[in-house]
């Protein structure tokens, strides 16, 4: 009966000039200061302008809103000259006051934003020198200061100059931006409208972001031309999309890698040999096959194994360090025995106590890699460990796991996506001040810390690279995380959507060039 209904409804599909696409979820906020997810980052790219960004073509630092820049105050500040004639979506002029307002807002303790909190370590202040000239001051001299200017500029006039921006400000849902599209969020999606501007001229007039549903429903709707795109198609559904000549799969590089964080604060996991043993018990080939559907012998699979905290395409990835695609039980058992664990009745015990591993996964990952949690559980169980499995909501992941308050877990399955800079400081540095602020299990290793500070103080790219290569090697034996793989994100777009270049991470950076002819 439902099929009949779907069939009947199929006839009412109308595809106007509006471009509709499925996002993974609704944005949590249209205000970049309150961004929490990749969805947020992508949406902000359409609605607002970042001061500087990496051109997807040349990879050069570029800007849509500045004409020139110069170092000032001995390298601790940057003087920016903004382009003329840029307007906000409400017609007001875009100027230095807005740049400085944004910096001030991030520095204002009253802005209850995690992102602002992090930026306070970077920015010292901002000064409006002329209508279009702003002087941005940093807390210290940075290797490439403009890399730090990747923040979106907010309109001073909307907040009436009040730099303490609360999470319940109307701007966060119905923002006034300067980007190619004016966006407004409703309960089911975000509606975008093209706005002509001195620095943007998008070809697509109207766009609708819709909340993701069952991936299979998304794919069917796309095939039915109900929508024109899906931002992230889970691997299990990709073959079906690839098979259709009305649809195109497009790679979207997030430089993201999957891991299993190991809790070294648990007595039985403190010894690195136990962590190495767990690493040996994991059969990556089998995991990848069962949860993502990649055959072991598949050529250029969507998912390549990694042995350290970088994706293989990154200059920081240390190719000298081998990955172990298959499990090696004997090696694992030997390591566990050396670490003082005993096997009683086929289950591992520590100091006479049976070990039951509490394994958690960031819930949405189960959409990309269905059953990954239970597969990892199965493999560890086959290796002689009892286990309990938990799904962790995005909210808890952000507020508890990433703040190092999830010590009740032994293993946590997650995924990192790098932003502009491949900076792993927050992940591995021992927590202190702004350092290691994403260090899940508060892992604390002096050797690692010193390599990380080597990278921070590096003045040349080779210095930076050497530091990270060494770090990669060290982490591969220390294993505070079991590194799994890099998994491509792939979008699906109907062929009516053309010249749709997808920018790594921010997705819509060159949206002006996109075309849609239904």
């Amino acid at each position: 009966m439902q099929i009949a209904l779907a069939g009947a409804l199929a006839t009412v599909v109308s595809t106007g000039a509006t471009l509709a696409f499925y996002e993974e979820s609704l944005p949590t906020s249209m205000n970049p200061l309150y961004a929490q997810s990749m969805v947020d980052n992508r949406v902000h790219e359409l609605v607002l302008d970042r001061l500087y960004y990496h051109s997807p073509i040349t990879n050069e630092l570029t800007s849509n809103v500045t004409n020139q820049w110069e170092l000032a105050e001995g390298g601790k500040a940057v003087r920016l000259t903004l382009k003329k004639g840029i307007r906000w979506h409400d017609g007001k002029g875009f100027g230095a006051k807005d740049v400085c307002f944004t910096v001030q807002a991030m520095l204002d303790e009253g802005t209850t934003s995690p992102i602002a909190q992090k930026q306070r370590a970077v920015f010292a202040g901002c000064e409006v020198e002329k209508d279009l000239v702003a002087l941005v001051r940093f807390t210290k001299i940075f290797h490439n200061p403009r890399e730090r200017l990747g923040f979106q500029v907010l309109p001073e006039h909307i907040f009436e100059g009040n730099t303490a921006i609360p999470p319940d400000h109307p701007f966060n849902t119905r923002p006034v931006g300067s980007g190619p599209m004016k966006g407004s969020m409703g309960r089911r999606g975000v509606a975008f409208e093209q706005v002509d501007n001195a620095h943007h001229e998008a070809d697509i007039d109207k766009m609708i972001l819709q909340e993701a549903q069952d991936p299979l429903v998304q794919v069917r709707t796309l095939q039915n031309n109900g929508v024109q795109g899906i931002i992230a198609v889970p691997p299990p559904y990709r073959p079906e999309v690839a098979a259709s000549d009305e649809l195109a799969l497009k790679s979207y590089d997030l430089r993201s890698w999957w891991f299993v964080a190991v809790n070294p604060n648990k007595a039985y996991l403190a010894d690195k040999r136990v962590r190495q043993a767990l690493n040996q018990l994991i059969n990556r080939n089998e995991l990848r096959q069962l949860s993502i559907g990649v055959k072991p012998d598949e050529q250029n699979p969507p998912c390549e194994f990694i042995s350290g905290p970088f994706v293989q395409s990154s200059p920081y990835y240390n190719r000298a360090v081998e990955v172990s695609p298959n499990s090696d039980k004997d090696a694992a058992f030997a390591l566990l025995a050396q670490a003082g664990l005993k096997q009683v009745g086929g289950r591992w015990q520590y100091k006479g106590q049976p070990i039951s591993l509490r394994i958690g996964i960031k819930a949405p990952l189960e959409i990309e890699a269905p059953d990954l949690l239970s597969q990892i559980g199965n493999q560890l169980s086959a290796g002689g460990f009892d286990r309990q499995e938990f799904k962790i909501s995005v909210d808890e992941w952000n507020t508890k796991v990433l703040t190092g308050q999830s010590d009740d877990f032994d293993l946590l399955v997650g995924k990192w996506s790098f932003g502009l800079v491949e900076d792993v400081n927050p992940l591995f540095h021992s927590r202190s001040g702004d350092k290691g602020n994403l260090n899940i299990f508060n892992y604390n290793e002096k050797a690692v810390d010193s390599l990380l500070s080597q990278f921070n103080t590096a003045r040349t790219d080779t210095q930076a690279q050497d530091a990270y290569h060494a770090l990669h090697e060290l982490l591969a034996s220390e294993l505070p995380y079991l590194f799994l793989w890099k998994l491509d994100t792939k979008s699906a777009w109907r062929t009516e959507v053309r010249s749709n270049t997808i920018t790594p991470y921010y997705y819509w950076t060159v949206f002006d060039a996109w075309k849609f002819e239904p």
């Binding site: 299979l216 069917r220 069962l290 559980g377 799904k391």
Partner: protein, 279 residues
Amino acid sequence: MPGAPAGRVNRVLPASLAAAGLALLLVPGFFAPEFLSEPDMANAFAGPGAVPPFGADQRGRPLLEYATQGAWVIALPSLVAALVVMALSTVGGLIACAGGRHVQTVVQIISEILGALPRLVVILVVALVLPRDGRGLLPIALTWAFLSAPGAIDEASAVAARLGGSRFVEALRAHGFSRPRIYLVHLVAFNLRPVVVRQGVETFMQVTFLEIALSYLAVVSNQSSFTHADSVQSWANLLDLGYKVVLGVHSGHALALGLGLVALVAVTAVAVTHAVRAR
């Protein structure tokens, strides 16, 4: 009297159905595996023919495991909830006969407010407040039981009132029955039994539906399950897998099994109600 044996005969079928149904619902749970067995892609979506008795899921794991795990999730909490409701409605009936008017008024006021609470609203909030390790169907089922008790109490006291309330007790006292006998045998066993048991059975059914609804909501919104461990599959997972038949997935057998299980609960409920109805 010709009516009685006939009555007994009419009872045999429902009684045996009820017994069988309850056994089918409660026993398999004890044989449920703690985790689904290893995937076997060769059997993906295999039908009952290939993987008896109910076929397999998209990873070739037997649906039987879903069924038994699901049964394990609902069986005990639903039973407890049912018992709680039965106990409370019995008390309600007794109060209607024994309690003074003030007691009844108080009971009514409490019932009115409790009974008027939008149940699922409270349930949802409770479900989300429960700490991870305290999560499970039992606390939710109990909340549900207390929220649905007022209705049951109302009905039981209505029955008691129809008997004549305190006058009924006095009349039997005049026949020389002892109070305990009057309350336990004449009132509860003879007169309240049908309505009380029906209430309990309804609660049992509602808690089953509730579990399915909550589990499904957790699935669609990427939440950890509110009613069971994340390694356990509930009947909602069966239905969720099964409904995809709409989208051209070969999971019709999962849907059939899911609906079959729901039907089993309902049939058992009806059977129990008939088995205990008054002569």
